[in-house]
Symmetry: C2
Subunit: 260 residues, 2 copies
């Protein structure tokens, strides 16, 4: 009964009970959704510093107290071990499991980071009448590894991953204006036009997600993407890391207009 | 020769050589100045999280790598142990020394945090023709402890300290608009009008800085203040903490318009 999932609390409750294990786009419209990254406390300072130094791909919405799975600032009373529809578990940077509940592997030394997500500014684009091509085509957003280096912090390093949306030049200008204030959801684009300038060789073969149609007169517009953190985990190879499964986000109690 | 200190690098060089031990307001106009907080690595995650959870008083500009006194993002090549005119050293939260050089007490486990400062938005207010009363009166800005709780992180907790500038209601509205984009320099005000509503009983007896004149028809306008971190250190009582001496800021290579 996806249609009844109109609030963040309802989505989290259905995920907790196991009724919901599907992706979250379109659920609880108007609520901010978030990427999840869980790491041991021993890596928490370096990762928070990585986010601090790379705020466009990694805008931090909330960080839990050590060992406590409740993100009390953005969703008091919720439980990050059960309230997402699906998780990915990494050991030494390798994906070892997808699961719908991480209570069994939760530890007292874990810290959870919630990081802003582009769904927020896409809602704003749609409200303003701008096209969001992958939504029109029923696909996942195309994402690409770039040659743009992130600023490293301790063992966390890597290159920026971007998402792409095709727009006319006039629409691209409007999208810059519109997304600029959403600093907690990746903010303004990082590049527009020539993909090769940031190391992307094939627009029709994204590294993550699906290719979408670039129409005549449109240019590709690129935003920093939260998948940057997952690429970083692959490179840093922490002993343990847990993330959301792509598209299966944590839905916070924050309203989209409240993070402007 | 204060008049010749027109760039950030010049100010830092004079502080390093010992020629400059005076406050920095007015030096290197156009460059962003910063609060300094140095703490042991064991407290660095909690303090960075405190900043993350309280971005209005504690907007982070840069955090050094552990043991490295170079803030490579905002002033590459500089040295935070020598390049401020004056420092304060705290043990267990107690001020034990003011000094112009912290090389002797620097340790391999120290992490330095640079935090935005209201000098940046004051420059913008002056450019827009708004009054900055304490500058007109040749005083330090009045600062007050409030009853507004900060969001705690680990052992870091405390109440918000605010700075105050008197403005007419129309000027206050303009100041909200003008300072909103300076999120790295405390951003928009946190309160305006009745001081008692945030626990301030005597406007003419600030907790830090100097009292200034409130003219007929003016209201007090309150901004979050970087002194919040020093109040927090007094409460948290870390084994060792080093800060700038009030008004003796670190001058970064960032231009004011570049942090908008």
């Amino acid at each position: 009964m996806v249609n009844s999932l109109s609030t963040a609390a309802e989505v989290r409750s259905r995920a907790r009970s196991g009724e919901l294990s599907a992706p979250t786009p379109g659920l609880a419209p108007g609520y901010v959704q978030a990427n999840l990254v869980v790491l041991p406390k021993s890596l928490a300072f370096d990762f928070l510093l990585f986010c601090q130094r790379n705020p466009k791909p990694c805008p931090v919405l909330d960080v839990t107290d050590v060992g406590n799975p409740e993100p009390r600032l953005v969703a008091p009373g919720s439980d990050l071990r059960t309230d997402l529809p699906r998780y990915r578990v990494f050991q030494q940077g390798e994906l070892i499991e997808e699961t719908t509940d991480i209570r069994k592997i939760w530890r007292d030394d874990l810290v959870a980071f919630l990081i802003g997500c582009s769904f927020t500014f896409e809602a704003a684009m749609l409200k303003a009448g701008l096209p969001v091509r992958h939504l029109d085509e029923g696909k996942n957003v195309p994402m690409y590894r770039t040659t743009i280096p992130c600023v490293s912090a301790g063992s966390f390093a890597g290159r920026l991953v971007v998402s792409m949306r095709p727009l006319s030049p006039a629409q691209a200008i409007q999208a810059v204006q519109l997304t600029t204030p959403y600093t907690k959801a990746h903010g303004a684009p990082v590049h527009l036009g020539d993909p090769a300038a940031i190391g992307i060789t094939q627009l029709d073969a994204p590294d993550f997600g699906d290719a979408v149609t670039l129409r005549d007169g449109e240019i590709p517009v690129f935003w920093a993407c939260g998948v940057t953190t997952q690429a970083t985990i692959g490179q840093t190879q922490p002993e343990l890391a847990i993330t959301h499964a792509p598209g299966h986000m944590f839905v916070t109690d924050l309203k989209e207009d409240a993070i402007l």
